[in-house]
Amino acid sequence: MSARIAGFSALALAALALLALVPRLGNAYYLALAISLLQYTVLATAWGLFSGPTRYVSLATTAFFGVGAYTVAVLGEILPWPLVLLTAAALGAIVAAIVGLSTLRLSGVYFVIFTFGLTELIRQLVVWFEVNKSRVLGRYVFVNITQADIYWQLLALTAAVFLLGWLIARSRLGFALRVIGEDETVAKHCGINTTFAKVALFTISATVMTLVGAIMAPRWTYIEPSIAFNSMISFQVLIMALLGGAHRLWGPVLGAVPLTLLFELLSARFPNTFTIILGCVFLLIVYMLPRGVAGLFEKLSTRTSGKTTQRVAA
């Protein structure tokens, strides 16, 4: 087993080193595409980190992404970059902990509804604050961050998320979450502090999302609430994670990569019917792939292994 882990980490490190070379290609279009791919990979994986095992459907991705982006818009010129990222992460964690503590006690559907509106709520609060207190709506982002820097930061974050997810799945917390996902009542009777486990993972997942928002912020030179809190991000991330299969750590990537490419193509070729196609893709996934691509793989592999055992038995 440990040999397998060592081999796997060597492979992952090699892949990481190869991916780190992408900005060296010198092609701005491919770099931009690679940034989009990494952005959605991290967001979808972070989404799956919490929603996969617990089966709570969260629509709050944008809320945290926006908090991160806005932190950069406000503090980007005042503080050194690492400190800005740290502040963003802390803010995201605080918001997530408050939201988690107040809503995660409630059962699943109420949670969906609350997260559904959370983005709007935070956006309205930001707008209200900017209009009434700071008297600006929209801020310019002047930070010394290049596209390549954004890419490398996202790549580092991707590696960190996968490592984190792998560690959580092997920890007591990961086990507790899987029991919660199976049956919350049973989990409570087993003596699992379900609220703590859920809030802890929700906070971790949200902090990662906030960091993505902060890292991506320098891509725009001008930020206003409707850009930072664009609710489309929540929806796209949700579709990606579901297509890939949120019950596996590596599942969401399988959805994020093809769908990012698809959306890229669609928004360039068919900007007017983009929403309709998005909806159709979503419906297809729900009906055809209830457990995502990862579920499909598992089904196929159990079918083939089932055949072998049958053959052996015969």
């Binding site: 089966r55 459907v57 107040s102 809503t103 006690r105 409630l106 059962s107 699943g108 559907v109 109420y110 969906v112 509804i113 609350f114 559904f116 509106g117 959370l118 709007e120 709520l121 309205q124 609060l125 707008v127 209200w128 209009v131 009434n132 609710s231 929806f235 949700l238 579901l242 007017n272 019917t273 983009f274 929403t275 309709i276 196609i277 998005l278 909806g279 159709c280 893709v281 979503f282 419906l283 996934i285 729900v286 009906y287 209830p290």
Partner: protein, 289 residues
């Protein structure tokens, strides 16, 4: 003060009307319909088109749009949602599946409306004159809408409590499995209730279009308001729907006139959270889980 309260009550009545259909769909058919607001906007567009293009009064529009919406929602339940109902091993799974499916539907409807009407805001002038009511000046169209809302609410309440079909529907809401044991056709009752919910939201859409401006993408706001009212009042509870709707409208109007109009949504959520933390099943809900 009277003005704020009156505005709040009219707003609240509208919220209650908007949420009535959803509480039926979710409480009885167990479909958490996230595309609910899109149906409202579609009805509003239909009414706008009938009025500006054909000079059809929204009252006549109601008679045209509502049956159409009933048929459409019945078809949607039969074609799109029945496979999910069959597939779901339990209620929670159906809820998650229905959220995802109707979510996809949201984009299809919204995208179609965007393609048809563009992103601009629409409105038309119908009964837009001031009248005196309880010593305050209010818009006639809002008052008419409130009157029709009350009539619809009473009719629905009577239908649910006084008729055989209504009793069957309430039985399904309480326990779909036991309802089957007393010879209630549960799939049929669910489909009809879902369609009835769709008809109600279409009625709400027509009424709302007489006094509010709307655009192809404003459906989400109505879905959110309806969800908040339904959950706050207790799922599937008509009275809860009314009380929660009024509470929401009142608090919104009071905050808008005395604190800051920019904070209405924040008040919605604060109220929503406060109710859920004290009574997780809603104001009039029974604690089932």
């Amino acid at each position: 003060m009277t003005n704020a309260i009156l505005t709040g009550l009219m707003l609240g009545g509208m919220y209650a009307l908007i949420a009535m259909g959803l509480t039926l769909q979710y409480g009885v058919a167990r479909i958490m319909n996230l595309s609910y607001g899109e149906f409202l906007i579609a009805a509003a567009f239909a009414s706008h088109w009938l009025f500006t293009g054909w000079a059809v009064s929204p009252f006549v529009g109601l008679a045209l749009v509502v049956p159409l919406a009933f048929a459409l929602n019945f078809a949607i339940y039969k074609l799109l949602l029945t496979p999910l109902v069959r597939r779901a091993p339990n209620r929670d799974a159906l809820e998650v599946d229905s959220i995802l499916a109707t979510f996809g539907l949201t984009f299809v409807i919204q995208g179609s409306m965007l393609a048809l009407f563009g992103g601009a805001y629409y409105s038309y002038s119908f009964l837009a004159f001031p009248v005196q009511f309880l010593g305050e000046t209010v818009a006639a169209n809002r008052l008419t809408a409130l009157g029709i809302t009350i009539l619809l609410g009473l009719a629905l309440y009577a239908a649910l409590t006084r008729t055989r079909a209504g009793t069957a529907v309430r039985a399904v809401a309480v326990d779909p499995f036991a309802a089957q044991l007393v010879a209630i056709n549960v799939p049929q009752a669910s489909a009809l209730t879902f369609a009835l919910g769709g008809a109600l939201v279409a009625a709400a859409g027509v009424l709302v279009s007489t006094f509010l401006t709307f655009s192809a993408s404003s459906g989400v706001v109505f879905t959110m308001k309806a969800l908040i009212v339904v959950v706050m009042g207790g799922v599937g509870n008509m009275l809860g729907c009314l009380v929660a709707g009024l509470a929401l409208g009142l608090s919104e109007a009071l905050v808008a006139s005395y604190v800051d109009p920019g904070l209405t949504l924040a008040v919605n959520f604060a109220l929503f959270l406060a109710v859920l933390l004290v009574k997780p099943a809603g104001l009039f809900g029974r604690a089932t889980r």
